[in-house]
């Protein structure tokens, strides 16, 4: 795609500047290409409604939605910021987030994938053509015809190997220089030696040439690599997503004058203005103003928190109702958001050290390849009394037969097949090694808000109120951006009610909303402010004149939550609940779901520490969570799952994403991962058994190029079929 090509011309400085500055300079950019993540798109209707709507938007030249990556790329004229497009998508009913091409460096993965696919294609076409010629040789072409066919094969095979074999050669060279031994070393050795000997034999009119075997080996191995790459490419670094979430610009107040500056330029002691609806750019203390702060992303609290002079706010929190002036206590690298990003980065690099079963098998198998062929060479050299050409031929035959064609496919084929199965059930696997790690899990930790529950409060006692009260409540709640008010408005509108006619509606930041209705004052908001007695459950209070009404709310349980908890407990897993919410809410939910082990008011660090402690005790933990507060826990856990409604950073930090509202695929995934591991082990044994049968044949000197091609394709096909057997 042309993002990379389009950007330098639009903003030459952006590419040179560090990410934060580039981000800061980007919004007012003339004629930029905007990248927006739209996680909810899934069908043809989504594509056409979004593209059609954006085509009519002023200033947008073109918009294209990529359904595979769930990403919208918009080519816009000057003055169009991503926020404008996001607001428009929001009205269409699609949740959207801005992405930064520079920070996320996704063009790089795209280029790698395309590069690998190109090599697969080239080796595939070469394989077909060389095989065409080889079949003629095997069918009995003799003399000059055979030599001609061999030479034409060489003409195709040599450039193919030079191009398509590069990933193996490069890895082998890197490993060699570092003094390590991995699978690519013997593979490169086998490819080059076989190619060289085959060319030599063809020039001397020899009987056997292994060009088709070499090209076939490269083709099958590249297919395995590509499947493997695809499984990994979806996973982008969570730490980078967190950095992208930081607000690049802030409004600084100095001597009463406002100035927009980059967050990187803020110093401790500066005062910044945070408008309603804006994200707090720094850690700081409120010095003026009153508002409510949505901390759900950072702490998992369902309800907004009141903030006034003297209250502490953290970067990443959203200011809801009134303007706030915040004195900076930590900005940029020192802010709490950035510290969390650092923790995530550390956890991610620790996870990269996980050795997969494929890597263990490769490490055990790699040395046998050169050893077997060297033994073949030495023994035959001795038996034949110094016939270099014969012993070299036999050594090459055993080299090509021991080469781990099926081994390269054994794991990626099963992972791809299992990923497809789980995708249809509603679970996207982002990390290639996640299935393997999932199979080892014995403890499952759930987050509460947004994971076991849907995270959206719903009113529970609407039927206890009269129609008039409801009409007033609807009219008032429609004027507020508070989550409870919006939930109330949504529920009342769904009942088909019409709002009452109000005068002088005004929002009182941090308290609620008030107006005049038929000569009486009406208020919707906090208990103390409306003059009602507060209840023990989450509630919003309405006052009409002197009379007060309470609307109680409860978080809805995610569908399938109870079944999943029961199924996991039946499978013998330990199930825990950890939340940043208040003890009453957490304990209530734990009791409803039958979870005995729960913890409330857990900070992000607490969750991560609890998981680390479990790991140290020898347990393997599956973390299921959705918020920014879970991000560290998600990346520390042995394996992690987040729902599609989760924050970008949380989804990026987890290994799997639940696509629908249902939680039930979690139990399926645990079961399927066990079966998948079984198939992987079978596949590894199968490719081993092929070697046990055919290596002696090669060693005795009976192997021909036909045998080599036969063994290679049969073992690759059986391994793939076994992977497809997965249910």
């Amino acid at each position: 795609m042309s993002y990379a090509a389009a950007r330098p011309s639009a903003c030459p400085a952006c590419d040179a500047a560090p990410a934060a500055e580039a981000l800061a300079a980007r919004a007012p950019l003339p004629g930029a290409r905007l990248l927006i993540s739209v996680p909810a798109v899934h069908c043809a209707g989504c594509i056409s409604s979004i593209e059609r709507d954006l085509a009519q938007m002023e200033g947008v030249n073109s918009a294209r939605l990529n359904l595979t990556l769930k990403r919208l790329s918009v080519d816009a004229r000057a003055g169009i910021a991503a926020q404008d497009v996001i607001a428009r998508l929001d009205r269409l009913g699609y949740e959207a987030h801005e992405m930064d091409a520079g920070t996320l460096s996704m063009t790089e993965t795209e280029k790698q994938g395309r590069d690998l696919l190109m090599r697969v294609g080239v080796s595939g076409f070469a394989m077909m053509n060389v095989m065409l010629l080889s079949v003629a040789v095997w069918a009995g072409a003799e003399g000059a015809t055979r030599d001609l066919f061999h030479l034409i094969s060489a003409l195709i095979a040599i450039p193919t190997v030079a191009f398509a074999g590069q990933p193996f050669f490069r890895n082998a060279w890197r490993a060699l220089r570092a003094g390590r031994m991995d699978m690519d070393g013997p593979i490169s050795f086998a490819i080059l030696l076989t190619l060289f000997i085959s060319l030599y034999e063809s020039l001397l009119s020899g009987e056997h040439a292994y060009f088709e075997a070499v090209v076939m080996l490269i083709f099958f191995l590249l297919v395995g690599r590509y499947l493997d790459f695809r499984a990994r490419a979806v996973a982008r670094s969570a730490a980078q997503e967190l950095a992208a979430l930081e607000v690049p610009r802030a409004t600084r107040l100095r001597d009463g004058a406002e100035a927009t500056v980059a967050v990187a330029d803020l110093a401790v002691g500066d005062v910044v203005l945070v408008r309603p609806g804006g994200r707090v750019p720094v850690d700081g203390v409120v010095v003026a103003g009153q508002s409510e702060i949505d901390r759900a992303l950072l702490t998992g609290e369902t309800l907004p928190v009141f903030a006034a002079e003297g209250h502490v706010v953290s970067a990443g929190e959203v200011n809801l109702t009134g303007p706030l002036q915040v004195r900076v206590t930590a900005a940029g690298k020192d802010s709490s958001l950035h510290q969390m990003a650092d923790l995530v980065a550390n956890a991610e690099s620790a996870r990269l050290r996980y050795t997969t079963i494929a890597e263990r098998a490769a490490a055990a198998y790699a040395p046998t390849i050169p050893i077997v062929s060297l033994a073949a060479f030495v023994i035959w050299y001795w038996i034949s009394g110094g016939d270099l050409r014969l012993s070299m031929n036999i050594a090459v035959a055993s080299l090509i037969i021991t080469c781990p064609c099926a081994l390269g496919l054994a794991v990626p084929a099963v992972v791809t097949s299992a990923s497809g199965k789980l995708f249809r059930k509603g679970l996207l696997i982002k990390d290639g090694t996640a299935l393997e790690r999932l199979a080892e899990v014995d403890t499952v930790i759930f987050d509460k808000t947004g994971t076991l529950t849907l995270g959206t409060p719903a009113p529970t006692n609407l039927d206890q109120h009269g129609a008039e009260v409801l009409a007033v409540a609807l009219a008032l709640s429609e004027g507020s951006s508070h989550p409870l008010a919006q939930a109330l408005a949504r529920a009342l509108r769904d009942r088909g009610l019409a709002p009452a006619v109000l005068d002088r509606v005004s929002e009182v930041a941090g308290y609620g909303i008030e107006a005049q209705w038929q000569g009486a004052q009406v208020r919707l908001g906090r208990a103390a402010w409306v003059g009602a007695t507060p209840r023990s459950v989450t509630a919003a209070y309405l006052a009409i004149g002197a009379q007060t009404h309470a609307f109680t709310f409860a978080d809805q349980l995610r569908p399938g939550a109870a079944e999943v908890v029961a199924a996991l407990q039946a499978q013998g897993k330990a199930v825990k609940l950890m939340s940043g919410d208040v003890p009453a809410a957490v304990g209530d939910l734990a009791a409803r779901l039958g979870i005995a082990d729960w913890q409330a008011e857990a900070l992000p660090q607490d969750k991560a520490a609890a998981i680390t402690a479990l790991h140290d005790a020898g347990h393997k933990v599956l973390m299921v969570g959705d918020g920014l507060n879970d991000t560290v826990a998600l990346s520390v856990a042995h394996v992690s799952i987040s729902p599609a409604s989760a924050l970008d950073a949380a989804r990026a930090a987890s290994d799997m994403v639940l696509l629908g509202r249902e939680l039930s695929p979690v139990a399926d995934a645990l079961r399927l991962s066990k079966t998948a591991m079984q198939r992987i082990r079978e596949n590894l044994w199968q490719s081993g058994i092929y070697n046990i049968i055919f290596v002696p044949i090669a060693l005795f000197g009976f192997a021909t190029p036909l045998w080599a091609a036969f063994v290679m394709s049969i073992s690759s096909i059986t391994v793939t079929l076994n992977a497809l057997r997965l249910k």
């Binding site: 042309s2 043809a44 073109s62």
Partner: protein, 60 residues
């Protein structure tokens, strides 16, 4: 056996033709969004006339 003189170049030519088509389709980004492309056939917007080609699409 003279037929080989014709058939070998023909088979090589066809092979290169296929490879060329593959490289062209890869460069054009036809494998970038397989899910989206399979859904786009259901979109009636360009049923009567093809989609106008944007200049930047042509450039790549």
């Amino acid at each position: 056996m003279e037929v080989l003189a014709v058939l070998i170049p023909v088979s090589l030519f066809l092979g290169f033709l296929g490879l060329g088509a593959f490289i062209w389709s890869l460069r054009k980004g036809m494998y970038d969004d397989p899910d989206g492309d399979s859904q786009r056939i259901l979109d009636p917007r360009y049923d009567d006339k093809p989609k106008p080609v944007a200049p930047e699409d042509e450039a790549r």
